[in-house]
């Protein structure tokens, strides 16, 4: 009956169209090009297939341009689509991150797909769709829009993981990722339903207001339980997506089985997107459930702290004895999820800057590292073991040096970008002055040192071991360009972070409610 009423209440199509043009130009461009690419696929001969990639890049470039325009245009948050979509600094910064991730991934993929003999347009179109999903996620202001875009991203990623359909490992990885993914989606939904049930709202800010009102009215205890349960279920889904312990177990398997270029993408894009909605939901929607660590009130900050501690430690320790480069990087990515959570836990400007700038630089350093791994994949060589890097310095010194810079950045050694990120994350925790959080920070820095050990195994292999095989790396211009760009960015952010911090402050200003 009410739905009837809703339908009867004539939607103002003009307003919606204006909203779309005003708020969603980049997303629409990305989707448009995704569809183009999908169609183009049928018109291209096998030799021309690379054009799909170039077209996708063009699409992303176009989206980037419109995004740049939006940066200029938007100074405050703009809401549209009946408060479903919000475009604010936070969303824009994350959209930049996703676009960069997508561009880099495509650049990495071209040669890789040739080697795998799977050069097809749908791959690029899927990446574009996933990117669109992620961009919507960043803009989501409502549980519903967040859920839909989340699923758009997730579903396309499942397909991408399964992309090598003749590869048993790819199948298996996709199956695991898929099953666990929708399992977590179910949990996510269940949690959302609880929150909805409690507040009768799906809009994040309204949820926050209602919860605050409930707290003020000293609502019965049961409401507190429901809110907590909803929060925990939502958090579980988020933990799953960012691969935090103990919801991380899909991660190594999926990363190992998926095509390497897809793994690279997954480790950056969806993870950043998950963090974006994590921050959105928990900071915009559930600030009242934050709690603190003084023992007065429990809330998500404690949960996040414990999970973060577990994640960093587990990820780093499990990575120590890995011999597969892809699995090793998967565990590394798990541990980074732990570090990133610190930003949310700290809950101050410094921590948020840390979260965003770390995700930003993570694109460069992690995709860079994956790019080098991608280049290891040659016709006859899987190139997935750490040993395969042996003596890289002799065969391809540039690659070895760049890989070293990426790895040092992942470790957080200055003057690389990773240090700047870690600096803010740690500083955020210290700024709180809370003893538990400082203890967490100590754990984090010790983990940093542990992580050095396995990153250094790559360095050791590259610089200090003898060459194992002589076949040249699978390099292409686009791959080289990507890696060089990533290296330059990693060093630039590390040495002169000032503009980049200013850039991320766009996002944090929103989180702080400024």
């Amino acid at each position: 009956m009410n739905i009837m009423l809703l339908i009867q209440a004539k939607p103002d199509w003009q307003v919606l169209a204006q909203d779309a043009a005003r708020l969603l130009m980049p997303e629409m461009l990305v989707i448009l090009f995704a569809c183009f690419v999908l169609v183009l696929e049928f018109m291209l001969t096998p030799e021309q297939r690379r054009w799909a990639a170039y077209l996708s890049l063009a699409g992303l470039g176009a989206a980037g341009l419109s995004l740049a325009l939006m940066f200029v245009k938007f100074t405050t948050a703009e809401v549209g689509f009946y408060e479903m979509v919000v475009v604010d600094g936070f969303a824009l910064v994350f959209k930049v991150i996703f676009l960069l991730a997508a561009i880099f991934t495509i650049a990495l993929s071209i040669k890789f797909l040739d080697v795998e003999n799977e050069q097809r347009g749908e791959y690029y179109s899927l990446i574009l769709f996933a990117t669109a999903g992620m961009m919507f996620m960043a803009s989501g202001a409502d549980l519903l829009s967040i859920f839909i875009s989340f699923e758009l991203m997730a579903l396309t990623t499942y397909i991408l993981v399964a992309y090598l359909k003749r590869d048993r490992r790819s199948n298996e990885a996709a199956m695991k990722y898929f099953l666990l993914g929708i399992f977590s989606s179910g949990i996510f939904l269940y949690g959302m339903s609880l929150i909805y049930g409690l507040t009768a709202e799906t809009n994040l800010t309204k949820i926050a207001d209602t919860l605050a009102r409930l707290a003020r009215q000293q609502a019965p205890q049961a409401t507190g339980f429901v809110a907590m349960a909803g929060m925990i279920f939502i958090a579980a889904a988020m933990f799953f997506k960012i691969a935090a312990v103990p919801f991380h177990m899909w991660c190594p398997d999926a990363y190992e089985g998926a095509p390497t270029s897809v793994t690279a993408f997954m480790s950056v894009g969806p993870k950043a997107a998950a963090f974006a909605i994590f921050a959105r939901i928990f900071i915009d929607g559930l600030p009242g459930l934050r709690g603190d660590l003084t023992g007065e009130s429990f809330g998500w900050v404690g949960l996040l702290a414990i999970v973060s501690a577990l994640t960093m430690t587990w990820g780093n320790i499990a990575a120590l004895t890995q011999n597969s480069a892809k699995r090793l990087m998967a565990y590394s990515s798990i541990s980074h999820a732990g570090y990133l959570l610190l930003g949310l836990i700290a809950g101050n400007e410094t921590g948020y800057i840390g979260l965003v700038i770390y995700l930003f630089v993570y694109v460069f350093m992690n995709l860079g590292a994956w790019g080098v791994i991608v280049a290891q994949r040659r016709a006859s060589i899987l190139g997935e073991r750490v040993d395969d890097f042996n003596g890289l310095i002799h065969r391809s010194p540039g690659m070895a040096v760049m890989m070293t810079i990426f790895l040092l950045s992942l470790t957080g050694i200055p003057p690389t970008a990773g240090f700047v990120g870690k600096y803010f994350l740690f500083a955020g925790l210290i700024e709180t002055g809370n003893a538990w959080l400082i203890a967490l920070c100590v754990l984090a820095v010790i983990n940093t040192a542990i992580s050095l050990y396995y990153y250094a195994r790559f360095i050791k292999a590259m610089f200090m071991s003898d060459v194992k095989e002589e076949e040249p790396l699978a390099l292409s211009t686009s791959l080289r360009a990507t890696l060089v760009t990533a290296t330059v960015m990693v060093l630039l952010v590390g040495v002169y972070p000032r503009p980049f911090i200013a850039f991320t402050e766009n996002a944090t200003r929103h989180l702080l409610g400024l």
């Binding site: 099953l179 666990l180 933990f239 103990p246 177990m249």
Partner: protein
Amino acid sequence: MFLKLVWLIPALPLLSAAILGIFGRPLRWSERTISWIACGSVFLSLVITAGVFVQYRAAHWPEPYLTSEAGGFPHSFVWVPGGDAELSLGPRAGQRATFRAEWSYQVDPLSMVMMVVVTLVGFLIHVFAIGYMRGDGGFYRFFAELNLFMFMMLTLVMGSNFLMLFVGWEGVGLCSYLLIGYWFHRADAKAASMKAFIVNRIGDFGFLLAMIAVFSLFGTLQFTEVMRLAADEAYLPTEAFGMFGMASWIALGLFIGATGKSAQIPLYVWLPDAMAGPTPVSALIHAATMVTAGVYMLTRTNVIFMKSPTMMFVVAVIGAATLILAAVIAFAQTDIKKVLAYSTISQLGYMFLACGVGAFTAGIFHLFTHAFFKALLFLGAGSIIIALHHKQDMREMGGLKSYMPVTYWTFVIAWLAICGIFPLAGFVSKDEILWRAFTTEVIPGGRWFWFIGLVGVALTAFYMTRLMALTFWGSPRFVPSTQAHGLSDEPAPHEEPRESPKVMTLPLIALAVGTAVAGFVGWPPALGGSHRFERWLNPVLYRRATNAEAMAHHGATEYILMVVSTLLAAMVMAAAYHLYIHRKQTLQAIVEAIRPLYIASARKFWVDEFYESVFVRGLTLGFSRVFWRTDTRVVDGAVNGSAWFTRFSSRLSGWSDLFIVDMIVNAIGFGLRVFSVAFRAAQTGFTQNYALVITFGLLIATAAYFIWGS
């Protein structure tokens, strides 16, 4: 004029050492050039010393002359400006004192005596060494090091503060190390050099701390200042006998240093081994000068020692014990230089005994005379050794009297002197010590010390006569050597030993003259003298009433004691002569009768072995090994465990490339790896397990919130 040149006295030998050390080898200077430079520099020092002596005596005595009076560099300069400090001991504790060590020299009666001894004996030995070291491959090096020693020794005796004394102290130790190890290819030399240095270092440990304590108490290291302040009863009170206060602690530290340098119990063991060095070195460093630095230091700081009768007693006891022990060991030694070495230790014991009973002047006087006759003995021994082509075993000597008359006769003078035969130098100084011990009021038990000294006289007379008998008298037992000694390029030598060249015998004669007349410098009033030596030195001493009285007092007892000791020495000498020359069977019988004692003496009472096994191998090296093991392979268990674990999980290859060497860190590393393997094992590959973990995670989080989160 000469007083302005004081700084040159040590500087000249240093310059010569530097020139020889740097250019001697590359320019391939001849032995003649090297000798001229080396001896010339020392001779110039000697001349300046003489000039300084004359001038100082005329213009300054009894006040000390400090080179800082003459101005800045090169006379003196601020050496170590260490900043401000707080005194931490004594009545001025907590007050500010600036640590500011000067490099400056001090000429006072005591250092004057030492300068004369060092330059004079040093010069003679330098000359002797020209002959002794002829043909040695490292001629330039030898003289460079010997000159360096001269510099260090002169710094030691001329330094105006403790720190400079310490410079010389360590410096002579270094030179001693270098010169003992001069023939470094020889196993005994290389071991002996190191032993000497390290034993000295142990002594320096005490000296260093005592020196620091002196600064912490007085706020200065300048001798004049320290002694002025120390003499103040309010500042450093005199302690009763048996008390162990501030003065005693400082004195103890200084005395530990002295025992190291002057080879007293328990640190005497290095000196006999040090005979591995060339004989001029033994004469200069290990008889005449360096080893007496301890006595010099005790006298220099006599104010502090005099404030502590306890430590004085300790010094006397150590001196007495050393003189007996060393003399007993000297009985059964067969190496001529070893006998002389133990004799040196024994004589140093006398000097310490003198210091201990408060007769510092007597100690220094004995130091003075001893420098002559012991240098003479060593040089004589060197002359013999050269003649016998580096044979040192007395059992292969005998009857050298007729072959080497100059050496023999000079040696005889020294022999008589050391045995204390009237009127030679040894007699005068030794008798002085005995008399002072007999009458001492500084410490109790003076007569016992006198008696020990007397026993020492007898022992000295015996072993020295034995030495004479075995080397010069009797029938020759040496086999004419058919091959040259290791280093010399000389062709196979002559069949029979020959008197040494003039360059060696002249110093012998000079020293013999010194030995004969040196005693007259301090001729006692009892025999009509005027104690000139003692009066000369008195200004540096901490005068107490008893001291002055003892000087004035002499009577029948003194003459009796003189006669007793001289007669004793003469009788023992005669008996020994008979035993070794005419009554060999009796000798054999006696040796058989006291065989255990004889062996103990020959084996030096196993002190070396004891030190070696307990301190060196036992404590130091033992701890060293234990610690090292802790450091590297502590967790053998962990290593073994890891080996087991490696086999157990052989599929996890490549993880043992970095394995566990240090204890804790690697235990952590190991733990991390174990966890790593465990964590990875959790990744079973079964999707449902993953889902289970997710579910559990969810459940635990929810449950935790429902239990604690209200």
